[in-house]
Structure formats: structure tokens, C-alpha cells
Symmetry: C2
Subunit: 676 residues, 2 copies
């Protein structure tokens, strides 16, 4: 049952339905009949955590509230004044509860604005003149990717965007093979082109670049069906007895996991109330987890490239950028989809069907041991639950996957794909060390991708701490009684006391990782605080210097881990009004003063990412580059929690031999001697 069509009373954490978007816009319009509004965003205002803890049953002291007020949160831009307003609407009481004019801020850029801007640019005579000089007469072949401005001279007073310009040989031609060398700047409230910046070659000896006209495409009709590989045989994943998960609205049950999901314009997919059935006990793990912000800074120091550091969550809305997924393409097997609901500029709802994909995957061996003496092999295969969505932000595409495993592991993976951003070079000009020439005159600039997770834990309760674990050799030299043979090493654990301590980066030399622990509960076996370890396989420093625009705005990406005490309104590492902001209201600012993060209700901010030095192989479309992080129970359970997963056999999974008849009767826990 897709979340948008649930006829039953919505759960307090359910995203707004189409009806609720309509109701919200109606109330806003009625309350301000005289103004011309652009509805920027209409979204659920999530109920306060304390109310939800009681509602969800974790707070045993407080009785479960009969009802929880449904509220929507609205951002409106008044035209032509450009004034930004915040409104809170009570859907329960059917009234506008609050209305506030916000000074000097700019909310996210919407698709409606992007469409308007691209149309505007193509009609602009100054743009036409630039194109004419490049030999372009047919403006219908000119395309502009509307990008946020980064930091603008006027700060956030004006609502401003930049257009990255491209040419297409035909409607479906790959424009990134034909970049143009100028950037129009647009005032979104006046809706006019206020400036055009020419991108000069790094060296003045080069004359203005021509447009590279060589086509570089990836659609089959360009490659020719006859040139596609013919030797890939079909691979089919079947679940004849159906899936192992249950879905009720937005609540998901799978194996011993239980959670809810929601989907909003900003973060996209959000996981709520993750808990795990441990014997008779339902144990709370995480109250809320989402991708809080991301940033993609580019390496090229020249103007205007320094402006390219997209905040795909805070500037465009990662949720708003989500794809409608197709069965058998984005995910394989037996799939359940959830839709997503957003609003357009006029306040009308629109639905993205199949926004979220839910399915199961075989995940290979979960555990195995062979008794070498008699060859008895005990092999148990693992399963994972995958909750995913895929977003497109202009040239780039990000596939985002939450994975839940039977052993209590949680994994989040992002696969970066799509098209690398390109810049035109003059003939004989080179990218220097800042990019790769992927084709004549086409410079794909190096860049980084940072993804900052907001992890709101409730590991056996809300009072949690974060421990940094550094492994080190025993201090004493070889031969010392404490380290006679020199092999000794041990983990050094530092529990963060406050926000100033809780700012750390990865460290190879100490194999550093982190734990979210509950200091109030010890593991009965190990006597350690119960916890989840947080590990990543993809970290990178932020190479932009302190004092740079990127570093000011994306300081949150300069550390791997931050911790803050829980605060209702602090959801986004780059600040709520991230677009055109200067970082004044972002994670590094929130943590400038000491606040306790020990044994209290905390939020962990975790950043992973990749430094992407572009390869020629990333053009014209980029094979997925994967990164992510994992959380594993660490002395949380009293033994391997997947111990009760039964082995599978070929009688169940129908595995067969490739080149001979299936005459092999061994199965996963029969004896198959190692040595005959």
C-alpha cells in the first residue's frame, strides 16, 4: 500500500498526503488573499521527539497520547518583492498557526524555477549574442543547467542563480560533450539575466574556445543496437513464496527489524524508529537517520569554477530531485514501491510514483565454519533488506541504499553515477592538474563528494554517548615485562564529553572508529557498555582551505564526526537556509561552544565521501563509484544475533550446475571432506 493512498488515519511520522498538501495551500491562500505567492515547499512538520517517544512506547513514564497534532511547514516566496515567509499550518485544527517573514535567507531552488530560468536564458538577447559569437543561431539547441550561485556578492538578499551552458546537436544528444564558455547570472525574483560571465582560458595566450562538436553519447539509438553486447544471458531473481517483509503504510517489518520510513523534499528518504527484536525484548536503536547534507566542491581554483560546490540537499532538495523508479531496471526481483508527494509553485500536490524501492537481496555467506577433521561444513547464507531511492541533480545521479542485515548490521551506500560536469578548453589548452581531458577540448574537473549523515540514536534509550576508539601498540618497548615480545596492542577508548571534544577525523595510524554507546547498560557477557560501532570505508579530507568560500559554507565536511546535544530544529548540517548562505547557521557554528554530549540525548553527524579524480573511463557516462558507512552491533547482543538463521540448500534455492546435470547431493551442513 503506497504511503500516499493510505485511507487509514496517517501515522504522526507519515509524510503529507496529496490531500494534506491541498489543505495546506488552501489555508495559506485564504489567509493572505491579497498577495502573489510562490509556494516553495510544503512538507510535514514532524511532531516533537518527546511526544513521539511516548507515542512510540519507548517513554514508559508518559502515557501514549490519543492523538498527535498534524502540522505542515510551508515556505513561501512573495513575488515580485522576493520576501520569504515561513508558515506553520495545523491540519488537525485546519488553521494557519504561525506566519513569519524571514530576513536575508533563500530557500531551495525548485524545478519550477529551473524550468523558468532555462526558458528565460534562451530568450535573453545578451545570451543570444554570446551564442551568435560562437556560431550558434538556433537557440533551441542551447541548454542551461541551473545551478545555485554559491556565495553571491549581495549575500542572500537577492535570489540568484547561475546557468551552466551547453549545446546539443539533437534533442537527445549528450550536452556535456558540448560545453559553452559563459555563465549567465539570473535574478529569480525579477526573473531576468542580470549578468553574463565569460570563462577565460587560464592563460591569456589562448583565444576564445570554439564549441567541441564531436558527439559523445550513451543512448542505444546513438551507439546502434547492433553494437551492443550480445553475450549477456538473462539473470532472474525469483521469490515464488513472496517476500519476507511486511509493509503497513510506511511501517516495515523484516526479520527482527522494525522501522518506519518517510520521504520529504529535502532529505528524501528518512528512517524512523529503528528497533530490533532481541528475544522477548524490543530494543530501540535509532530514532531518526537521514542524509542531512552533501557538498561537491570542485578542484579548479579559477573563476567562476570556484562557485561549483553544489549542496544537493540544501540547495535543490534531494527528495525533490528523486527519480520515479522502473521495475526490473533500478532494482531486481520482487519489489514494493512507495510514492512521494511534493508541491508545485502554485501549491498543487504532485506525486512521484515509485520513489522508494523496497526489496530483499541474497547477500552471500552470512557465516560459515568447516570442521577440518571431518569436513562438516556449516554454511549459512545471508539476506539483506534494501530501501533505496535515486536522485538526479542536473548532470549527476546518486543511488542511495539503506541495507539492513540479519546480524544487526546497518549499512548506507551511495553510488555516484551520471555525467561528470564538463568545461570547455581552448584548442591546445590543457586542464592542468585540476581536471582530466576526457575528449578534445573537454575538461572534466576533479572534485569531491561529501555526504553528511544525521544519526539520532536511541541505543537502548535516549541517553547515549559517543566513544572514539584508537588502536595502539603497547607503549613499553620490546623486552619490557608488559610487552616482552613486542606484539601487544589494545584499543584506547575516549568518550566525548562535549561538543568541542566531539570533532574528529579518520586516522589510519590508529585504525580509528567510533561507537555509539549507552553507558547506563552493560553487556552481561563482556561488561562493556552496549553499543553500535560506526565504520566507514570511504573518507577523505576536505581539501578546500579554511577561509575559502567552500570551507565557510561546508565546514561540516571538514571532520568525519561531530556530536551535538539533540535540538528539535537542527536537522541540516549546512543550515536550513543553505542556499546562498555563508555557513553562519551550520554545524561548525553550533559546536563552537562547549555543550555536553555525554550520557544525554545526542545526535551524531557522520561524513563520508570520495575524492573523485576523473578518469577518461568516467565519460560520457560514469560507472558507479560507491561509498558509504556501516553500523554494527558492538557488544550490544549476548551472541551472534543471526545464530538462528537456517542454512539454505539447493532444494530451496534451486542452484544448478552450469555445464553438467545436477548430480551433486551435498548440502550446506552435510559432510564434504576437505581431503579425500
Amino acid at each position: 500500500m503506497p504511503c500516499t493512498k493510505s485511507t487509514s488515519k496517517p501515522h504522526p511520522l507519515d509524510s503529507l498526503s496529496t490531500d494534506e498538501v491541498i489543505q495546506t495551500a488552501k489555508l495559506i491562500r485564504e489567509s493572505k488573499e491579497d498577495s502573489k505567492f510562490v509556494f516553495n515547499t510544503i512538507t510535514l512538520r514532524e511532531p516533537p521527539k518527546d511526544i513521539m517517544m511516548a507515542y512510540l512506547g519507548w517513554d514508559k513514564e508518559t502515557p501514549k497520547p490519543e492523538t498527535v497534532e498534524r502540522e505542515s511547514f510551508v515556505i513561501i516566496i512573495e513575488r515580485p518583492s522576493g520576501k520569504v515567509y515561513e508558515a506553520i499550518v495545523s491540519l488537525t485544527d485546519n488553521k494557519v498557526k504561525s506566519w513569519m517573514h524571514m530576513e536575508g535567507v533563500q530557500p531551495i531552488i525548485t524545478f519550477d524555477e529551473m524550468a523558468e530560468v532555462e526558458e528565460l536564458i534562451n530568450k535573453d538577447p545578451k545570451v543570444a549574442a554570446e551564442c551568435a559569437e560562437l556560431g550558434i543561431t538556433d537557440m533551441s539547441k542551447v541548454y542551461s543547467d541551473p545551478w545555485a550561485i554559491g556565495r553571491h556578492v549581495d549575500g542572500a538578499e537577492k535570489r540568484v542563480m547561475q546557468g551552466l551552458m551547453y549545446y546539443r546537436l539533437s534533442e537527445d544528444d549528450n550536452q556535456y560533450a558540448h560545453p559553452l564558455d559563459f555563465v549567465p547570472i539570473i535574478d529569480l525574483n525579477q526573473m531576468k539575466v542580470i549578468d553574463i560571465e565569460r570563462i577565460a582560458p587560464r592563460d591569456s595566450k589562448f583565444k576564445r574556445p570554439t564549441i567541441p562538436m564531436e558527439p559523445h553519447n550513451f543512448y542505444p539509438e546513438f551507439l546502434g543496437e547492433e553494437n551492443l553486447r550480445k553475450d549477456i544471458k538473462p539473470l532472474i531473481v525469483q521469490q515464488p513464496e513472496g517476500v519476507s517483509f511486511k509493509v503497513d503504510g510506511n511501517e516495515i517489518d523484516w526479520q527482527k527489524w522494525n522501522l518506519r520510513i518517510s520521504f520529504n523534499y529535502r532529505e528524501g528518504l528518512v528512517l524512523h524508529n529503528l528497533n530490533y527484536q532481541d528475544g522477548d525484548e524490543k530494543r530501540p536503536l535509532f530514532y531518526r537517520m537521514s542524509l542531512s547534507e552533501m557538498v561537491v566542491p570542485y578542484a579548479e581554483p579559477g573563476a567562476p569554477h570556484y562557485r561549483k560546490h553544489a549542496f544537493d540537499v540544501g540547495e535543490y532538495g534531494l527528495g525533490l530531485s528523486t527519480n520515479s523508479l522502473a521495475l526490473g531496471c533500478d532494482c531486481l526481483g520482487t519489489i514494493h514501491y512507495f510514492d512521494a508527494v511534493f508541491n508545485d509553485a502554485s501549491g498543487r500536490p504532485f506525486v512521484v510514483p515509485n520513489a522508494v524501492c523496497l526489496h530483499e537481496e541474497d547477500h552471500g555467506i552470512l557465516f560459515k565454519h568447516t570442521e577440518y577433521r571431518n569436513g562438516r561444513a556449516h554454511t549459512v547464507r545471508g539476506r539483506r533488506l534494501v530501501i533505496s531511492h535515486i536522485v538526479t541533480v542536473a548532470n549527476y545521479d546518486y543511488a542511495c541504499y539503506w541495507h539492513l542485515y540479519q546480524d544487526g548490521t546497518i549499512n548506507y551506500e551511495i553510488k555516484a553515477t551520471g555525467e561528470v560536469n564538463t568545461h570547455v578548453l581552448a584548442e591546445d589548452e590543457t586542464p592542468g592538474p585540476y581536471g582530466t581531458m576526457v575528449a578534445p577540448q573537454i575538461n572534466a574537473q576533479h572534485h569531491q563528494h561529501f555526504f553528511t549523515m544525521r544519526i539520532d540514536p536511541m541505543v537502548d534509550g535516549l541517553k547515549n554517548s559517543i566513544a572514539q576508539v584508537d588502536v595502539q601498540a603497547v607503549e613499553e618497548p620490546v623486552g619490557h615485562p608488559n610487552n616482552m615480545y613486542g606484539n601487544g596492542f589494545y584499543p584506547k577508548t575516549t568518550v566525548y564529553k562535549d561538543t568541542l571534544e566531539a570533532q574528529a577525523s579518520s586516522n589510519f595510524d590508529t585504525a580509528r572508529f567510533w561507537k555509539i554507546i549507552n553507558p547506563n547498560k552493560l553487556n552481561p557477557r563482556s561488561k562493556d557498555p552496549v553499543g553500535f560501532k560506526v565504520v566507514t570505508h570511504s573518507n577523505s579530507p576536505l581539501f578546500a582551505k579554511p577561509g575559502s568560500i567552500v570551507h565557510d559554507r561546508a565546514g561540516f565536511a571538514s571532520k568525519t564526526v561531530w556530536a551535538t546535544p539533540y535540538e528539535e530544529d537542527k536537522l541540516f548540517a549546512g543550515g536550513f537556509y543553505c542556499n546562498q548562505a555563508n555557513g553562519e547557521d551550520s554545524l561548525p557554528q553550533w559546536t563552537k561552544e562547549s555543550k555536553s554530549v555525554e550520557n544525554t540525548d545526542i545526535v551524531m553527524w557522520y561524513t563520508f565521501g570520495v575524492t573523485h579524480l576523473v578518469r577518461v573511463e568516467d565519460f560520457p557516462i560514469m560507472p558507479v563509484e560507491s561509498c558509504g558507512f556501516s553500523m554494527k552491533p558492538s557488544n550490544f547482543f549476548t551472541c551472534n544475533p543471526a545464530l538462528d538463521v537456517p542454512p539454505t540448500t539447493k532444494s530451496i534455492n534451486k542452484s544448478v550446475h552450469a555445464f553438467k546435470s545436477d548430480d551433486d547431493d551435498s548440502c550446506c551442513n552435510k559432510s564434504a571432506p576437505i581431503a579425500a
Copy 2:
């Protein structure tokens, strides 16, 4: 067709057949009729690289040799003298070509010896006396895991082993829940127990530990079928038209990949002659790749635990330790297996059926881009070829996977599973910082796993170099003309000149990675040398101190990357005679003097691994812990080499909806608007 039954003439790189093992042993016995031999190992002596380069057609100057001589390499131990001999047998000429007595070395420990040792220990009166003191009267319930001795006081003169002792409540009971507190030392040539070491608690205040008798099992018969999860629905992978790969003996063709495999007692699976079809050109990539050595040092500084640092390749033979795989358990879907052939102590061959698994897997999205303007989504799913085997070394099990991808990526993954090594604690004794108490009195000591790969490249030819790439911010401060906005960064590339330079570890601060390049060939697009980048997601420093026994013996694990000029007989980072060795003949020694590794025939030694701080969740059987490394074409091709992979659709892969009838007609490159 399994490699052992190939009736056709063997390829020069094929492992020995059963007949060839028989022929070898016969020739050896006939040539030394008067002696009593233990056949340690009989294996293929691979032909010289220069001959093979001509045979494989890469050396265009030299004509392909009509025949290549088949040779076997034999290690023999004379009893009771314990003298070690090396012999080379020509199978082609049916004669023993060479015979050499090797002073002061010890070859690997064999299963025959392990069986002998365990029997010996259980019959030994001193062992019985130790057991009696612990209250054990039934010696049939006492088990010993035979471990290599590490470094012994007498060096490698005596052939010595240690037995780690356990008790079982019943034949299939998990012995690691009942560790004993003493270690018999065995002379393998005399076949007698020469010493028994009592493991004293760290603090003398504790009296001798009793045996923990609480059972901790994972076999279904112990858990009770009724307690296993019932809610996992079958998941079936089908390839109705068969697999996409071709197998001819040990040669594998898949997509544009071509390679050969072999399997030996030491490294197990070896990949030979990897090459890739790029348009009309067949391009050589790697001559030979294998897991050269591994080491598992433990953290506990006390005696005799410091001895626990298993070299599972060089001490036991990773190939010899391989499992016979079962259809539908170890791998899912449509499988082809290869057998492996070894020898027993008497020189008789034995076959491990299904030693190597070959199959295909769906690998999710290979690349995708959605045109946000019209919602046209182009989604291409990826496939990978998996070549794997699984080894068991006493308590631990390692599943080893080579993955080949359609975009030219090569990945090697090791999943560590099985049972953590346990040590008994006295009542009230704690593991200190060196381990985790996974159950009362059971200390699972922290440890590390290092895996050192030998990568013998031929990237577009044998003359290759290794480049270290360090990313760094532009030096100039913010505001300087070269870094006006402070965002500038670039990769700094250092091409290693010699063996002294080519010793480096991972570096988080510079997002360091490495490239294997061919400086003699530039990418026509980027003008960079063609190459493959080498990246890992799992590195850890070796925490054992320089001067420690582990560091002396496993110095190869103290760096991430080493390079050496190609040398025929240097295959094993820990030395050929690793067992009881002191590291005198290991990688760090080979690289003490400067030898050129630039633009020549080189070998790259690459180490990855994990620091395993044991969790309670790792007991009584450990969920897989994954680590590995990848190699990606980096400016090797002129575009994304997977561009010609066609999209799949639900009409091909039969994906279905979980809870509704399949009424969704969108497919991977039809339009599915992002915003309705």
C-alpha cells in the same frame, strides 16, 4: 570440464593432474629407493615468464614455442633425520632433474602431520596428567588445534609445532567454548611431545582456571530446528539461457575478459594472463595475481600467546586448506566448479572436488542518468563474474572472491568468518584491554588480519611503473592569484624509482592511492600514461613493534605497498620456507638495497586487512567481516568501456511487484517523468 579430468594436452599453466602427481612420486621413489620419505608437497613448477610471454603471444619478437616443458616441484622430508629436500622432476622427459638438500628450513605443515599430532597428543601421558588435573578422564573428548610454532628457540633446525587444547562435551560440540590452559610442544620428526607449557593467568593472585563447561553451539541440532527463523522466503537465481561465460579447461572467457586460473597447495587460487578485448585489440593487463601471504597477529602480549601469528599461506598452505564447495550453499545460481589436486604424505594424489566456484552475479546499477527535463531515465544494470574458494585454517574460515566487472574493474574480497580463537580465563580474571570476554571465562583475544597480494602486471606490456598519488590543496593561501578562492586542489604523482622509494603506507590526509602505469603508452584522450589505479577500503597499520617476533617475520605487512623488480623465484612475501622462519628471506629483506622498479618488469606487493577487536556478536560463530582491494582502469580506455552494455528490462529479468499485479510498463530507457 574440471581441470583434473582434461584429457587434452595440459596447458603450461595448468596445475598438476592426478596422473602427474603419481608420475612425480614414482620417479622420486625410484631415484631414492633406500630412503623413507614424507612427501610434503608436489606441485607444478610454473614455466619461466619469458617463455610464457612468447607462448601466450604477448612477446611478438619470439616465435611461440612448440612445447613447454612440464615440471613438478617437490618438497620431501626424510624421516627420522628430518632432512628437507627439494626436487625438480621433468614430466616431459620423465626424470628427476635436480635434487637438493636444504639446510635449516621447514616446509609447510600438512594435514597428515596435523592428524598425526592430534593423535599423538591424546595418547601422551603428560598431556593426560594435565587433563586429569582439570578433571578430564575421557581423553576422546580432548581436541588439539595444531598450530605452527612461530619462532622456536632452535630456529628451524627441529620441526616443531604447538597444540592449542580444547574440550568437547560431545563429538559435534563447539570446542572453542571449552579452551584448556596448556600447550603441548611437539617434535614432528621424532613425533613426540617435547614440552608442555601451562598458560598462567596474568595475575598470580588467580588460581588455575577451571574448564568453562557452558555449551555455545551453532549447529541446528543444538539450537533446535523449532528455534530457527521461519520467515525467510526462498530466493532463487535463475539463468534460463545458461551462463554468459565460457570455460575451456582452466581458461575462462566472460564478456571482454579472458584469463586462466590454476590452484596450488600454497596460494590456492591463482589468476594468470588477465587480458581485455578493447575493440579489435586484445590488451594484456596482469601476468599473475595471487594472495602471496597472510598473517594474523594477536594482541595479547603474554606468553605463550605472542606465538599466535598464523601465516596461513606459508605455514599451512592456503590451497591445501581449501573447502569442497556445495551447490546452493557457498554460491547461488548457475555454477561451474573446478577441482583441485594435492598429494598426501605417501605421494598419492587426492582431489578436492568443487574447490573453485565460478558464477555470475547481478551487481546492481552499472550506470544511470536521468534527463531531468523530460524524465528520460537510462539505466544499465551490471553483472560481475565471481571466481572464489573458501579455506579453513583450524578455527578461522576465509572466503576469497575475485570479481571481474564489465567496466574493467577487478576486485578481490576476503570474508573472514568461522570461530574466533579463545583462551580460558580464571574465575574473576578479565581479558584486560587485549580481548573481549564473549562468555564466562572465555577470552576472545583481539587480533589483526593482513593479506598481502602479489600483483605481477603487464599493463599494455611488461615495462610498467608504480605511481603514488597524493591529493593536496593548492599551496598558495586564499586570495593568492593561484588560489584566489581557496578551493584549489590537485593530485601529486610520484613515480617510484627504486625498491627503497617503493615502500609506502596508506595516508588519509592525502587520500593516497596508487597506479600501475605503462609510461611508454599515453592515453590518446587525456595524454596520461595508461594505467590501473589500485585502491583499498580496508587498511590497518601493523601494531606489533619493530624488533618483535611478528614484525621480524611479517614485516611485509608493515607497509601497504612495496615494489620489486620481477624475479622468478620470489613469489611469497614471507619467504618460501615461511614455517619457523625468522623473516631473513622475506619482502623487507629483498628491498633493503636499491633496485630499479621504474619502467621495467615489476611486481607490486599490496597489503590490506582489518584490525579485529572481537565483539560479543562474533561468538560462537562470526558473521563475515569483509575486506579487500580493487583495481580500476585509470585513463587506460578511451571512454567508459561498459558503454556497450545493453539495459535490462523486466521482460528480460522478470521482476515483479510484491503486493500488486504487474501493471507497470515503464522500462529502463522509456520516459518516467520525475515531476508529473
